[in-house]
């Protein structure tokens, strides 16, 4: 998968990296058990600091998206099935709903948009 970040975006680089990788896993571009480049290599490729990449990997690891293999290689964590919504995700969903309400969006339209996104990403259609 091709990772893309904008070094001059408002969104911090480590968050962009994290989102790239989560999106890659969700859309199936990064397969279960696939190894990711080491933090040093990825930092050199992207031209960003090693600590930035490390931070992104740390967040991904604590979120359960990747696991460290022999403490050196990051690999995509095994697929989970039928879980509950984790607290961090629930918080984000709450904020999304709140923002939607502020924009005066109908409940049905909001729910439809959520479902559409879900299907699109799962189908690998994220362009």
């Amino acid at each position: 998968m091709l990772i893309q970040i904008n070094t001059y975006a408002e969104k911090p680089i480590y968050e962009q990296l994290r989102d790239n990788i989560i999106m890659g896993i969700a859309s199936g571009q990064l397969a279960e058990g696939e190894s990711l480049p080491s933090a040093r290599v990825l930092a050199a490729d992207l031209g960003v600091s090693f600590h930035t990449v490390n931070k992104a990997y740390d967040i991904l690891r604590s979120g359960g998206y990747i696991v460290m293999d022999r403490r050196t290689t990051a690999i995509v964590a095994p697929k989970k099935t039928g879980g509950d919504i984790p607290a961090a995700l629930a918080e984000k969903l709450t904020m999304c709903a709140a923002e939607a309400i502020c924009h005066g969006i109908d409940e049905s339209i909001f729910a439809k948009a959520c479902a559409e996104n879900y299907r699109k990403i799962k189908g690998g259609d994220i362009q």
């Binding site: 070094t7 990064l30 050199a44 490729d45």
Partner: protein
């Protein structure tokens, strides 16, 4: 001395013509995302302002090239014994002219960029499967170097087997008609000079190949997946080109070395030159047709997919231009990569903020200065 001067003069003119012809067309070979080392949208290249800058650069370099060429012809007529200095310093003058013609245009391009709002998102790419900077060295075409080393090994064996039967002194230098005109006392060092030289050369060429493999790829924003695939293909082509050139050089040295170990056996000059020039032609043609970094290559992009691009809108007025001093020298302490894609002409740039690069470049400069001093001392006796 006269023959040597003729040889040096012809070489000098050839080098100057080649460099001088290459210099003005570099802006055409550089990828469309950069205007004199400044990141711009590709459309900006077609504006009248950008064209004016390119015209200015072409005029300056063509003029400079003609002056240097005239100067070297005048030097040969006026003081032929000093041709060795011409061959040493005139190419450096050409480089200086190129930089002098480049830097003011770089500043103007920066001004134009802010005036006309030529802003481009500074997007960085990385592939999760292959690294751009650690380079997949196993993907390098090593077989060219294995072939080269086998030829070098054969030349060692031939030299050692023939050694007892050789006369003393042995011919080591030939004129244009390939009649020996220089002899050295018989010694293992003399006989093994060419094979040893070949080994050093294979090592240098292999390192060049490694460097190409490790240079960071510059991906164009419009179609990142396509650009990425082009880069990979281009890298493969360049790897084979360097490998082929290595084999050609080794074969040439092998053939020249045979003249030393088989007295009476001579190779016509044209053959020695043809061995090296014939493989160079396809390499030049391919690299010009491929464009800088393979931007003109046709590729199949289905093998790569890009991640979601929605989240990366940013401040497009900000860019990495500030890390490129004069648009030529990349100095970014945050970037751990040592080798990066060049913004003008060449394919490899250095990140001058990295310690290994600082050491390497210093060694290179010291070696160049030392070899110049050595040549000057050597030729002092001859002049």
């Amino acid at each position: 001395m006269t023959e040597l001067n003729v040889f040096l003069f012809v070489t000098n003119i050839c080098v100057l013509l080649l460099c001088g012809a290459l210099m003005p067309i570099v802006p055409m070979l550089t990828r469309k995302s950069f205007l004199f080392g400044v990141k711009v949208p590709p459309e900006a290249q077609d504006t009248a302002q950008a064209k004016a800058l390119k015209r200015n650069y072409i005029t300056l370099t063509v003029l400079g090239g003609i002056i240097v060429l005239a100067a070297s012809i005048w030097q040969y007529i006026a003081a032929p014994n000093y041709t060795i200095y011409a061959i040493m310093f005139f190419p450096l003058v050409l480089v200086a002219i190129q930089i002098l013609a480049f830097v003011p245009n770089h500043s103007k391009a920066l001004e134009l960029k802010s005036q006309l709002g030529w802003n481009v998102a500074e997007i960085k790419y990385a592939d999760t499967k292959t690294s751009f900077t650690r380079g997949n060295l196993s993907a390098m075409p090593h077989f060219w170097y294995v072939i080269s080393l086998i030829i070098v090994f054969v030349s060692f064996v031939v030299a050692l087997v023939r050694y007892p039967a050789l006369p003393d002194p042995i011919p080591t230098h030939w004129d244009f008609n390939m009649e020996p005109n220089g002899w050295s006392p018989k010694s293992l060092g003399t006989v093994l000079l060419m094979p040893i030289f070949s080994i050093v050369m294979v090592a240098i060429m292999w390192l060049t190949g490694v460097l190409i493999e490790k240079a960071k790829l510059q991906i164009d924003h419009e179609e990142p997946a396509k650009s990425f695939a082009q880069h990979k293909k281009y890298r493969r082509l360049m790897g084979h080109g360097i490998g082929l050139l290595t084999v050609a050089l080794v074969v040439m040295f092998f053939v020249i070395g045979l003249q030393t170990v088989f007295v009476g056996f001579t190779v016509p000059m044209w053959l020695a030159l043809a061995i090296i020039i014939v493989p160079t032609i396809p390499i030049c043609v391919i690299s010009i047709r491929a464009g800088q970094g393979g931007t003109l290559l046709k590729v199949n992009t289905t093998e790569i997919t890009a991640a979601n691009n929605n989240a990366i809108a940013g401040n497009n007025a900000m860019s990495d231009d500030k890390y490129w001093a004069w648009g030529l020298f990349y100095h970014n302490p945050d970037d751990p990569a040592c080798f990066v894609g060049d913004r003008f002409g060449g394919n490899i740039g250095f990140n001058y903020s990295r310690l290994p690069v600082k050491i390497g470049v210093s060694i290179g400069i010291v070696a160049l200065v030392a070899s110049y001093i050595w040549i000057i001392i050597l030729f002092q006796e001859l002049i």
